[in-house]
Symmetry: C2
Subunit: 432 residues, 2 copies
């Protein structure tokens, strides 16, 4: 039991008797960081004591590619051809989205992420100042970017540059260490090389991330080949867009040369198995090739309209099983590599020191309940986490040393759910 459930404050906290790497440990936290992980630590030092018995501790999971506010579009349209789904359903509804919608949608998404053990996400959408406000209030980490689509139109480009610069200024002003900005050219087939070059330069000048969709479908790869005579990753590299700050979303159709180049440039790839399967993109991420050349591969849910949730535990299982099924190889992407993908590699992709449970690391910690039939027996922690658990088994979540959920309670949850419900109905009514 918690001595007194103080939420959303950076305190000195001691988690007593949780399982860390198959051992019973206490975790001492102060000023947002893990101080020590050791058995039987002194309880007098902590302002807050959390009983960790019958739980297993993990680093908070990291979602390297999503569109958080699309939570409001969950279940609005499914089981359609990708292009019809976008042009007849998603885009017409998105045209009616307001800043207030994005704020509530991001609040809903953050709630869902906290509940399922995610403490950091890499986002691309619009009205991102409002998304930043939602993340600030929710207490988790995010790298936020305005998705730029120009199709080569100079006016559109100027507007998208302004939106990106405004977001960067807004995030600077917030001065919240949990929130960073990024620049996000939508994709090589929607943003021409000269506009991508500006994005690369802006990312370097500001030392911020660059977030882009790459090689999700074969037809977009063919478009890029036809337009520019080269594969998307090569084009990106020519534009200066492949650096250690870059996260490439999807990457299903990357070839061997592209994988090698991505690794050489220390760029990261965000693997979205559920979305790729649901939209039938036709090829699974070439994980073994990327792993073989030492590229960083993070895990991601994509947006809720192509998934339809933000549960990174579920995504971990899909990640491994889709690789095994698609590439016909039952030994590929084993459980421990999946967990690394969802933690350490995700942190590397987002350039944050999270993703590990170790002294000096940020106190982004998830406690999973062990008194659940799916967690028994516990021959292998990591196997159970990846193949048997789901987000519903998360009991307690800390981010940046503050308690966000405890014993499945998140303060204010009912209010956010009700606001999201009415906001979604209102959005639909405007579309009709």
């Amino acid at each position: 039991m918690i001595s007194d459930p103080v939420f959303n404050q950076k305190l000195s906290i001691l988690i007593k008797g949780t399982h860390v790497n198959q051992k019973t440990q206490d975790i001492l936290i102060d000023a947002g960081k893990i101080i020590s992980i050791a058995p039987n630590q002194n309880t007098n030092d902590a302002e807050l004591i959390i009983d960790g018995t019958k739980t297993l501790a993990l680093p908070g999971l990291i979602n390297t590619h999503t569109h958080a506010a699309m939570s409001l579009l969950r279940g609005y349209a499914d089981d359609m051809h990708l292009q019809e789904w976008l042009s007849e359903k998603i885009w017409p509804l998105e045209a009616h989205l307001t800043g207030d919608d994005v704020y509530i949608g991001t609040k809903l998404a953050c709630l869902e992420m906290i509940r399922s053990g995610t403490t950091a996400f890499n986002d691309m959408y619009f009205f991102m100042d409002r998304a930043a406000q939602a993340v600030d209030e929710a207490g988790i980490r995010a790298q936020l970017s305005h998705g730029m689509i120009t199709f080569g139109d100079p006016k559109k480009f100027a507007a998208e540059q302004k939106a990106t610069k405004d977001l960067v200024a807004c995030v600077k002003q917030m001065n919240n260490s949990r929130i960073t900005a990024a620049v996000a050219p939508h994709a090589p087939y929607t943003v021409p090389p000269d506009h991508m070059r500006w994005c690369a330069e802006f990312s370097a000048e500001e030392d911020i991330g660059l977030h882009i969709h790459v090689s999700e479908t074969k037809s977009e790869v063919d478009s890029v080949l036809e337009m520019y005579g080269k594969k998307p990753a090569l084009l990106l590299d020519e534009c200066g867009c492949l650096t250690e700050r870059t996260v490439l979303a999807h990457g299903c159709w990357l070839d061997s040369d592209e994988c090698a180049l991505i690794a050489k440039r220390s760029a990261s790839v965000a693997y979205s198995p559920c979305s790729n399967m649901k939209l039938a993109t036709g090829r699974a991420l070439p994980y073994d090739e990327l792993e073989g050349v030492g590229a960083t591969v993070g895990l991601s849910t994509d947006g809720c309209s192509s998934n339809n949730n933000l549960d990174m535990f579920e995504e971990m299982k899909f990640a491994s099983l889709y690789q095994k099924a698609f590439w016909g190889k039952d030994t590929t992407l084993p459980a421990h590599e999946v967990l690394r993908m969802a933690t350490e590699s995700g942190a590397k992709a987002m350039r944050i020191p999270s993703g590990v449970l170790a002294p000096h690391a940020p106190a982004d910690i998830v406690l999973i309940g062990l008194l659940h039939p799916s967690m028994v027996p516990l021959y292998n922690d990591v196997s159970n986490i990846v193949y048997a658990a789901n987000g519903g088994m998360v009991e307690t979540v800390l981010c940046d040393g503050a308690l966000l959920m405890h014993e499945r309670i998140i303060p204010g949850e009912a209010d956010i759910l009700e606001k999201a419900r009415t906001t979604a109905l209102d959005l639909i009514s405007r579309r009709n």
Copy 2:
């Protein structure tokens, strides 16, 4: 709130104000059956009132192929080549299993199924009298069979016949309407045609199910072709094993002629997407072909060592996404067909009148909590159930008109988990 939480008894029960097919309804239950589904029913008639507001009601889910007691092997070995996994890990451990292990393993599995909304399962394993005892106590439905492997050996065949007959006698003596027996020749490559013929005759004589693995991998199909000169379903049909009592597990490699024959004979197929993907069986069930010819396709988790849980909500999502990804068709197996697979079609496969919410149907009912971020917004109940929910959102479960779980409480759960934990450790120690 419940007026008084009386578990495991067939009572007259009124579920007030739950969502059924997008409408707010009361469900009146008596003597194990649904009496009526209508708004604002009189509460004076019921012995037990359950508050269904903020929940959505579904028929209990039906798992058409599993090996329940393999819950004890969860996480024991993963990420291996199928044959090494079986011969080096699974079979040597199974050789040490006792009747007591199967009893505890099946108790653990039933607990996991109840918690994730499954109220009926089709099982194949050994020491099945002890599995029957576990199911009797758990309160759910099962069709139980002893997996017969003879490799043509007459002595082995005699022993397997005896085990099957003993199980049928044991189930008859139990006289529990929730429990039926079946005959289970393991697969066409492990049981020769003359032994399969006996199984078919025994199934007809006793009017019991016939449960068999078919065409899981290409190599087993090739073996059958080499041994008998025909595809597995044709061989089964020649042996009299294709009837309306038959459940064919897996069926990944069925061809068009086999699909048509299965439909013609009114046999059912149990689709196990997680297991098929994890073990990289190389081909997804030809669902569109089976659907096209009108065959019954149920959903199933397979055993916990190749999944590694029994969550049918998770399995529903895998079911649709694997079809879309493997067959490259984003419109195939839409959400409403997945839900039908996990309910009505499963009931048909198991020849029970469950799987629907309607007057006269068995009161096998699951209430899913709607106050969860993944269930907001609720544009489309079925989409959220299939693509966004997981088993952890199940709040309340009734089977055969008795309450088994209420507000996530299952009486006796902690005791079963502890026994399963120690039993698993003991099993491993005997193997070592």
